[in-house]
Amino acid sequence: MLPDFVAAAVNGSDRTFSLYVHVPFCSSRCGYCDFNTYISPDLGPGASHESYADSAIKELEFAADAMEKSGVAAKPLHSVFFGGGTPTLLQATDLTRILQRAEQLFGIEDAAEITTEANPDSLSLDAVQRLADGGFNRISMGMQSSVSHVLQVLERTHNPDNVEIAAGWIRDSGLEMSLDLIFGTPGESIADWKRSLDAVLTLEPDHVSAYGLIVEDGTKLAAQIRRGVYPNTDPDDQADKYLLTERRLAAAGYRWYEISNWAYDPHDEGIHQSQHNLAYWRDQDWWGIGPGAHSHMAGLRWWNAKHPAAYASRVLANKSPAIGHEIPDSDARLLEKIMLGVRLAEGLDIEELAAQNKEAAALVQREAKVLGAQELIESSALENGKIVPTLKGRLLDDAITRRLAGF
């Protein structure tokens, strides 16, 4: 059961409802990765490549039931995103089966964006077509880099040539294509990164995500850096590469709409932006299906059991797979709002913030003047009541957040 305030906040509001489905399998583990994913194809009942879809469907049914019992009115899905792991390690029919069940339970908006992540090596023309036929309209492919020594450090096993082939299949099947990239990997030169960007542009994706590599604690890469196998990442190098990315992508008609995300939108029509990711950043509602998945509804956040076997045993027993939750207090909600808003090209809406907390909005208004003078935020947007980081500000976005939040 969801707390009463959820139904009160969701029903009759214009909050959108999205679905995330986590697929916790990979064929090998990348050295930098700290996601909840497993190499073994069979982790127990309901947690194998073959049986996982049934577990996910079980949770979907549980979700629909819980919402109904809690008085949360059903809304058609605004977006659906299959992430991982490597969702395409499952049969395409398994993915479409999950999607169809979700549609039966919740409905799907007409223009909904329906994405799956894919590894170039785990795609086939057949699979892409099945996905297209089964309702998917977007594939986000983990390309990371086009330079083999960089892929080696990341321990990405895919053959760079396969990216181009897979991109062709995606195009030919009429799907939108997004490419995921990582810059700032140890040993990657500026020239290497330029090569990767060039390779991306020849593939003409609709959308590009490019992240500065974060070395997470506990990963193999972190240990390698600690032992001196690789040099640590250099924030200045990442800054240089970020600026390069912006320059190259902008020149090719891509527009940033979030710190690490660009949409192909040469005429500024607001197209090709990931609706699913925007839902996260706009503080909308979503249900996260699968082990370790996080959900959010009207300020309530919860997360599922992390291990697929633990997760599956719960859903198969008709129990909630959630193992933890939090209801951030008003200060925390405020911080979230600021933190998410200032990452976006559409910006943080001061008026909206004022509705949440008048004093906080007044503080933001005051601090914005300083940030404007420092050229960290756009003065023109500020005149319209929005906080939008400048290019310089995008690289110092956390500093902007801290300042606006008063610390």
Binding site: I214, A239, R301, D398, A399
Partner: protein
Amino acid sequence: MSPVASNPPQPGSTHSSVIRNFCIVAHIDHGKSTLADRMLQSTKVVTPREMQNQFLDNMDIERERGITIKSQAVRMPWQVGNEDYILNMIDTPGHVDFAYEVSRSLAACEGAILLVDAAQGIEAQTLANLYMAMEHDLEIIPVLNKIDLPAAEPERYALEISNLIGIDPDDVLKVSGKTGEGVEELLDRVVRDVPAPSGDAEAPARAMIFDSIYDTYRGVITYVRMVDGKLEPRQGIQMMATGSTYELQESGIYSPDAIPSKGLGVGEVGYLITGVKDVAESKVGDTVTSKKQPAEAPIGGYREPQPMVFSGLYPIDGSDYPALREALEKLQLNDAALSYEPETSVALGFGFRVGFLGLLHLEIVRERLEREYNLDLISTAPNVIYNVTTEDGTVVRVTNPSEFPEGKITEVDEPMAMATVIVPSEFIGSVMELSQNKRGQLSGMDYLSEERVEIRYWIPLAEIVFDYFDLLKSRTKGYASLNWHRDGSQIADLVKVDILLQGDAVDAFSAITHRDHAYSYGVKMTSKLKELIPRQQFEVPIQAAIGSRIIARENIRAIRKDVLSKCYGGDISRKRKLLEKQKEGKKRMKMVGTVEVPQEAFIAALSTDTDT
């Protein structure tokens, strides 16, 4: 036959002819506490079962560091022939910072056991205390300890000792505190060789205070040695230096627990309780006399405690300032040598300038403040007292770099010390190089034996206080031992080096140093701070300057990337919590002008490192 006294004389009615007052002079780790424990056991003052290991050191910090800070005295009965004797063992602080306290403990004795580790030989501090004991005309009983150790070389070190004090090497006793071997012979020897106290039982009472401690329940407990006459409970007493008078509530001895007595007679050692709440009212070295029938003159040698090293102590959390003041007040109850006054630092806020007897004293006080009073502190670099004469002839006493006068200075007078270093002869070169580098002047060198040398340097106290001992230890593989005492002053070419962040001097980092060392201090501090201060949104120049002249410079480049690239569903709570953590961390930042400096940077920059 048991040598333990069967019917020992009682406190207050013990004839001075059967009293033997002695102390043990030893280096840290040479086994003084273990030997003392053995003596307590041999004299049946404690049973093995009661034995709390190392009975005499009763503070945690002392036990951890193996240093005796506060002395105590234990009364032990012992029989030689058919005669019952009373042995009073007075414990002495082992560290150079407490030289005055040592001298008062020695003054309470007629004999001293010179205890030397049979595997290591005599060390500088022991030597200094030995010389002090000899100046007090104490009978010296040389003893080699730890003869059970495989590495023990008793013959070799007996020779070293015999050279030092001019006795036959065969007269050096050989004992093992660990096995108990030789301990009873040693007790017999104390009875035989240490003279009985000579005092006038009929004269007006005079008792010398050799220690006083604060007890939460009893107030101040004053340790005394009766020199003349007798003191009894309920009589009026007077402290001769302070002039204050009290009623004596209780007298007694320790054996090993406190045992109240009907009084203390001439030659005896024991304690007095007067209800005083502050050890400053009961000063080490002062003379206690009768109020009704006061003595004409006090016992000589009394001195006010003189702090030699100063350091600013600041609470990391500014709201702890009142708690720090309260803690210092409480510590002072038990430590008459501790002095402090409020001071304000632009960078560190409100704190205290605290005076200490030496570096160890500083460390102990700091540690007690942190441990017993749960305070997080920053201490500024230790400072000695300079007398600075300005152009107009005014002399300014400087205990803090911020007091260093601006403008033209005629001369700076700095305190000097005589340092004694004992090292294996192979390290002579290293010691001389270091000491000269630290502006020391060689004043003498003596071979204690073929392998070991005593080197004496006249050296600025500031250098000793700064890092001389740390460097000495690291350059001699830990073999060097150091002792020093204040010895005059000299005019030196000293300057104040300021450290500037974005053009603003940070008072906490200023230092007074010799002109020749100013540059290296400047370079060291600026490069250290460059590592310690996180990059800011703007470039931050760090400069070292003498007056307006810049002598070193580093730059902290502006931060260019301060953003987490990823922020999806599950990352939102995580990222928010990270920001909340940064918000907490921000409280530990000090703003210096517009520059955020983490507390850790202050702590790390102000701590002396030994790796240079």
